[in-house]
Symmetry: none
Subunit: 139 residues, 4 copies
């Protein structure tokens, strides 16, 4: 179970990675193992709808057990399947990199979702945050 203190480290260090890489303003969320929000921050200059994107990336990862990169691959080879998954999850899934699973002893305990820069840079920031909190990341 990710504690709030750990979630705050994930958010802070994902943001620090963004600043170190010179990325655009990031929005970062941390979800628990049930896909429910633990923490979120949206940097100044980000567009107002960024929470929904950040959560969508992380939510899809938790609910399907697939990180954003795997969801993207599936969406590109079988688009109607990912569209259908989005239907059963009430449209809350964003299947691109930046949705990164948080693992402990091989089990999924949550996910971090980042949006703001390219999807791959978003994922790199999420991985940095997860590692800083002492968990394994699957991007």
């Amino acid at each position: 179970m990710i504690t709030l203190d750990e979630a705050r480290v994930m958010v802070a260090e994902a943001r620090a990675k963004g600043r170190a890489l010179g990325l655009k303003p990031l929005s970062v969320c941390v979800l628990d193992a049930g896909g429910h929000l633990l923490a979120f921050e949206r940097e100044d200059g980000a567009s107002p709808g960024r929470f929904e994107i950040a959560r969508g990336k992380a939510y899809g990862a938790v609910m399907t057990g697939l990180p954003g990169s795997a969801q993207k691959a599936r969406a590109e080879e079988q688009g109607y399947f990912m569209a259908a998954l989005n239907g059963v999850y009430d449209g809350r899934l964003v299947p691109v990199p930046g949705g990164v699973l948080v693992l402990k002893d091989g089990a999924v305990v949550g996910a971090v979702g980042v949006t703001g820069d390219t999807s791959d840079n978003d994922a790199a920031a999420a991985v940095a945050g997860i590692a800083a909190a002492g968990y394994a990341a699957l991007a």
Copy 2:
């Protein structure tokens, strides 16, 4: 009309097939002739959102009268049509194998939905469960 005892056999034997084939953790649901839930089980290690996928496979089969394989073929040749069907069914349809019709004397009396491994393996598990309960299966 599928009884609960029969539905429980379907779930148990679909799961047994999964174990016999060495599949990933399966989630199995049984719907009645109206598309309503009779029984469901999610094996340990499956991601939390598996019920929605299992039900989506079975729901689409019951509501359209087409098993998952036929829905998949239609989605690949006429994607907008399956997308439109998903609209009228409130996004609850997952058009891939693993949604298997349950037939008695040629009439649809329900469906089994399985998710967790490849779509084809999911379908094989569903067929095994249906057969064990003494019904015909259309995958």
Copy 3:
């Protein structure tokens, strides 16, 4: 974390309690700590929409941390508040007895939802199922 084997015990023993008390056909669901479905069974003779009620009772308990009896009390003294909660949870909350929290070492690890007889009898069946699986129940 409730295992599937434990969830199956909860369902079986809640149903057994219903039979011992001569209750109407019961529908029983078990949700995990994130409100996601682990197991469900609907007894023969129950109306087709029982899954949604059983899940609604358990879902409201998990998401708010309040068992059905406490939700009912709140609904009766401040109806607009429970109505508003139902709005933010997409209408998935049923605030009456029969939604029973599953506790381990004082922490909520899931909930059991039962529907079919009176709300109080439904709750009694849920409690029996939870106790049989070795957990504490808060009804």
Copy 4:
């Protein structure tokens, strides 16, 4: 316009107030002038559905321009009106204290939503957070 640094102060100081008063675990969100999420934290031990409640309190305040206490008064004297407002806002409004407007020079620039303890204690924590960030609060 509330900056992220200011929003973080609001969250931290609302939580500090909760700890100083010995309140139950709090969940705190800050919304901007458009009702969109800037920051959120859920304390350990809170139920998983607390984000939706915290946001609902703040969202209703921003969208109607009425703090939670005024929404509650209206709900108690004219329930169908608040129910109708909830309809037009997609069920996202929770009309009780704990949704507090953030004002600058008399204009609404956002809202803080707090949930976890009694509604009045939630509101007191929100006010403390807003004041610590140098804004006026209307609870």
